[in-house]
Symmetry: C2
Subunit: 245 residues, 2 copies
Amino acid sequence: MSAAILGKLEALHPLPDDDRALLHAVVGRGRPLKAGDDIVREGERTDVVHVILEGHGYRYKTLADGKRQIIGYLVPGDFCDLYGFLLDRMDHGMATRTACRIAELSEEHILMLTSRPALARALWWSELVNASILREWLVNMGRRTPSVRVAHILCELLVRLQVVGEATNDSFRLELSQAELGDTVGLTTVSVNRALQKLRSAGLIQQTNREIAIPDVAALKAFADFDPSYLHFRKDRDESAEGRA
Amino acid sequence: MSAAILGKLEALHPLPDDDRALLHAVVGRGRPLKAGDDIVREGERTDVVHVILEGHGYRYKTLADGKRQIIGYLVPGDFCDLYGFLLDRMDHGMATRTACRIAELSEEHILMLTSRPALARALWWSELVNASILREWLVNMGRRTPSVRVAHILCELLVRLQVVGEATNDSFRLELSQAELGDTVGLTTVSVNRALQKLRSAGLIQQTNREIAIPDVAALKAFADFDPSYLHFRKDRDESAEGRA
DNA sequence: CGGTCGGTTGACATGTCTCAATTAACGTGG
DNA sequence: CCACGTTAATTGAGACATGTCAACCGACCG
């Protein structure tokens, strides 16, 4: 089960065996959380780092008027609040959207991990990629039409879930309601629904329940204006190069 | 002139004297750039880290159809592409919007700096705050109305420019065209213009040329739904507490 | 079997973008 | 120091698209 952690971290560099062993030992089996549970609430001060071992979640902010904006997805292998030791206080909340298994690491544990160069590099790299994803989401919301926006996030999910072994070449299980998709890309439920309809009727995606199948991945990526280089996966660079050729 | 660098970095922790000296020595006087110059282009691979000593700039991405999204502002003291050594390639471009003075640090220089704990902390902290700002911008674009959006970015600029000594308690020089503001918050020039008119006629801001004066800062912050805690400045925490009381 | 949540649909109001023209501010060269 | 050209700001009219409101359907759970 903790293979997934390595999966995400090794998207950067393969870890030395002893680092892998240390990581496993420190992380342990974690504790289970139900779907919809809070992991950390907004404004909270926390002295542990939460690591997702299994399941999915998201980062979010809530506005005064109750509106919500999702500002990131959490997948297995994510060190959710690594920066908690540098920043004083959570500027956003985190919640699960499926049942999860989550480890809580103390500052000592983190120091133990980050004293290993390969692990430290992998963790910071992950943090930087998260920031890069935020930048792309900003572009998505600011300058793309609803259906392109939705298509783009679907492309991203496909690629990111592939990395943690939860998607095939052309399909994955969408663990998000249309309301949550809307809170991600800045649309209402109704608009998300119609955007998805558009994608379906254009033959770009097929939906059965929560299962998304993509008949022609290159076509969807083209429609979505999706260039995976912002995810900074080594493998995708080649892939995108050939997709473009 | 390089006092501004320290200003930004010391918003976290005051630096030990020898770290300050090292920083000054490494950074030097920099080289001048004209307004509108590219600092680094999208997709470029760079082996130096650019540091803004003077002037202002922004990070941006350009879409296939020519639309642009600004994804961050650069102010004096910013290490623009600190992560260049961890990530392979710039996922966005950076340009100046005023005349600038910019230093270019080699990997050796960076290693020299990051081997000092206080400096390393300050640099990473800065990186994390940038990510936090991105999250808030996402909320801004996704879930706020145009005039609130514009008001929010003005509040942010006020606070951030105060930190580098370029704003008074209630005013600052806006170094952005309305088109650039629009590219920041996901609006057209026309909508930005009308949003600003709304703020002016509501008495929330006063504009003379590019100078923004805010008669009642608390009122603008309230209108903008602005809570500065996402900037993670120690001082602002108290300020916001009293502003709220 | 009933209730809840998520998805779907329609009608409608509103707001934002587009297009286009006008005015104002600024920098440059004569 | 003024004339001109360029960029930025402002305004108006109209099309279009998204949000709002509300109802309905369907699946899943207890």
